[in-house]
Amino acid sequence: MPTMTIAKALNEGLRAVLDNDPTTLLMGEDIGELGGVYRVTEGLKKDFGALRVVDTPLGESGIIGTAIGLALRGYRPVCEIQFDGFVFPGFNQITTQLAKLHTRSDGMLSAPVVIRIPYGGGIGSIEHHSESPEALFAHTAGLRIITPSNPQDAYWMIQQAVTCQDPVIVFEPKRRYWLKGDVDTSAPASDPFSAHTLRAGTDATVVAYGPLVPVALAAANAAEADGRSIEVIDLRSVSPIDFDTVTASVLRTGRLVVAHEAPTFGGIGGEIAARVSERAFLSLEAPVIRVGGFHMPYPVARVEEHYLPDIDRILEALDRAFAY
């Protein structure tokens, strides 16, 4: 079983879809010759040519809008948005067109466009390079949103996104691009829209996704030292959300902490808290506690370590849950 980074796993996954399906093509800024600013598409233009790995002009609306047109002609475009904060010039095409084509046509048309977005902070960068805008897209019906947290998922989920008939946004945890792990390239992949329980526990559940999954696991290990048994769930998909897996866990543990880098207000954590309250109210020993960014634009790099949820912030949330 090969070991590779998340970036390499995405690269291999994209290579596989280009190999498997002649209608797939990649498009984005600097993805061809350069291989993308994070080198996720490195070497693909050389092997598949400029018609299938397309260096586009610098226009995010142009990238998404032309991808929609290509999809209408029977192609499966995979678009790269260079950074999370630069998706907004394409927001109109994503929310008013891409998300609605299937329903506008009463199901006659589909728009299987994939949008890859490196997201999240922790890389010491400048404004617009560290954001987590997933909730803005999750609020839009018609889109699916997934976020792999390890190389195995990265390899398979990008391929599953491409074969899905619906538009899929893949949020890639950019500060984990160099995280290594085993990738079983032969194993049948599980449903990309399901959550995975990564660590079994009995006293509380921590739900995280994307870049915070390793943080949640580390927090669970630290809590173990205090004699607390923490279950950790990697959500993997933020739209749809696998509420069944989350609820089943909370019915057993009675406590839930949800962690994401995005601001808590109006975020995915709030949605999970509400659903779990409806489904598992009588099993809850404490309110669902959210750990996330504060209600401010993503802060400057020199202070981001105080903004980003870390092990201590998750442990503090667990303490609050256990205090009830």
Binding site: P22, L25, L51, T56, P57, G59, S61, G62, I64, G65, T66, A67, I68, G69, L70, A71, L72, R73, G74, Y75, P77, P89, N92, Q93, T96, Q97, K100, H102, T103, R104, S105, D106, G107, M108, L109, S110, P112, A141, G142, R144, C164, Q165, D166, F193, P240, I241, D242, F243, D244
Partner: protein, 406 residues
């Protein structure tokens, strides 16, 4: 900040060109020397079939079909039928049968001329006013009203007609047309025996200010995509004149992107058809995009919710009525003996049948169930949609016993 330091209303009125007839640098309206006219306002065929496109003079005579009586009669028939359709739809809206209507009256020449230039394998991306183009693509007139009746957001199968659904967000469809053209380009390379095809993107003078028009032209030029940009400059973006959108004739913008642009008299159906045929051939043959500006006039309101008396002069409207695209072709057909009263009376009868059928179709359109809407949110099964649908069904079923819901 002290608001009183802003210019007065009088000052503003002098400074900002509000009237489309104000001569803006390089734009002298319909009489611009670079505008192609073939059929004059008096219904006479011109002898000059050339126009300057970019730096060169193009001879459009191979693309003009003015000597084919049946063809000219059919162009008139299409323009006439769609105007009658437009009038009937306006009436249906006034009678409360449609939520809104978007009239096309005045733009029949631009729409029928360009639509009839398309070949079956070409693909059109309309705004929400392209009823005339829809007619040329074989879309059932009643299907165009389903959106405005509030029973669907679409109304027809775009793949059946190579005519995309109406797009209400301005200019969004221009990028779709370019992407579609990029797909055609790839198909052609993979399968050279396919008939060459192009896409055509419709938009208006108002939408020309949208960023998506800019990006679509940049992408189209970069990839030499087989796409024709067809701008109907109808002078008004609701209440704002085209002079506020642009200081040069819109066709000139093409030069900045590096492809040909041409202004055509949009009320001259013969010229519009010729120019569009030329442009499509240019695109299909791998020479890249073309921008056509069809200079026309929205003779009616923006929509049935609009009131043009608040912002434009009746004198302008009167002037443009003399340039009516139907009137000039009728004059030509009559004066050259190619059509007589019987022809026009026959069309009237045909239109009456069409509008009667239209009214019946609208009134009998089945009202969809909200349940149907759950089915088309996603192409693949989605647990949240399924859960909410189950809730909705159960909730609705709760009313079954007391007869509130049938």
């Amino acid at each position: 900040m002290n608001g009183s330091r802003l210019p007065t209303a009088e000052f503003e009125a002098e400074d900002v060109a509000r009237s489309p007839d104000v001569d803006v640098a390089g734009s002298s309206g319909i009489d611009d020397a670079d505008t192609l006219h073939i059929l004059s306002e008096q219904g006479e065929l011109g002898s000059t079939l050339t126009a300057r496109v970019g730096g060169e003079v193009v001879d459009f005579s191979p693309y003009v079909r003015a000597d084919d009586t049946e063809h000219l009669r059919s162009l008139y028939r299409d323009m006439y039928l769609i105007r009658r359709f437009d009038q009937e739809s306006t009436a249906l809206q006034r009678q409360g049968q449609l939520a809104l209507w978007v009239p096309l009256t005045g733009q029949e020449g631009a729409q029928i001329g360009s639509g009839r230039a398309l070949q079956p394998q070409d693909y059109a991306f309309p705004t929400y006013r392209e009823h005339g183009v829809a007619l040329t693509r074989g879309v059932e007139p009643a299907d165009l009203l389903r959106l405005f009746r509030g029973v669907t957001n679409g109304g027809w199968d775009p793949r059946e007609h190579n005519f995309h659904l109406y797009t209400l967000v301005l200019a969004a469809q221009c990028l779709h047309a370019v992407g579609y053209a990029m797909g055609l380009q790839r198909d052609q390379l993979a399968e050279p025996s396919l008939p060459p095809a192009a896409s055509i993107a419709y938009f208006g003078d108002g939408a020309s200010s949208e960023g998506d028009v800019h990006e679509s032209m940049v992408f189209a030029a970069s990839f030499k995509a087989p796409v024709v940009f067809f701008c109907q400059n109808n002078q008004w973006a609701i209440s704002v004149p085209s002079t506020v959108q642009t200081r040069v004739p819109l066709a000139q913008r093409a030069a900045g992107y590096g492809f040909p642009g041409i202004r055509v008299d949009g009320n001259d159906v013969v010229a519009v058809e010729a120019v569009t045929r030329w442009a499509l051939e240019h695109a299909r043959s791998g020479r890249g995009p073309v921008l056509i500006e069809a200079y026309t006039y929205r003779m009616s309101a923006h929509t049935t919710a609009d009131d043009p008396t608040k912002y434009r002069l009746s004198e302008d409207e009167r002037q443009w009525r003399t340039r009516d695209p139907l009137l000039r072709l009728e004059t030509h057909l009559r004066s050259t003996g190619q059509a007589d009263d019987a022809f026009f009376e026959g069309l009237d009868a045909q239109a009456r049948t069409m509008t009667t059928g239209l009214r019946e179709a609208v009134l009998s359109m089945p009202v969809p169930d909200l349940e149907d809407r759950f089915a088309s949110v996603y192409a693949e099964p989605h647990p949240l949609v399924q859960e909410e649908l189950a809730f909705f069904r159960e909730y609705q079923a709760g009313f079954a016993d007391d007869g509130q819901v049938s």
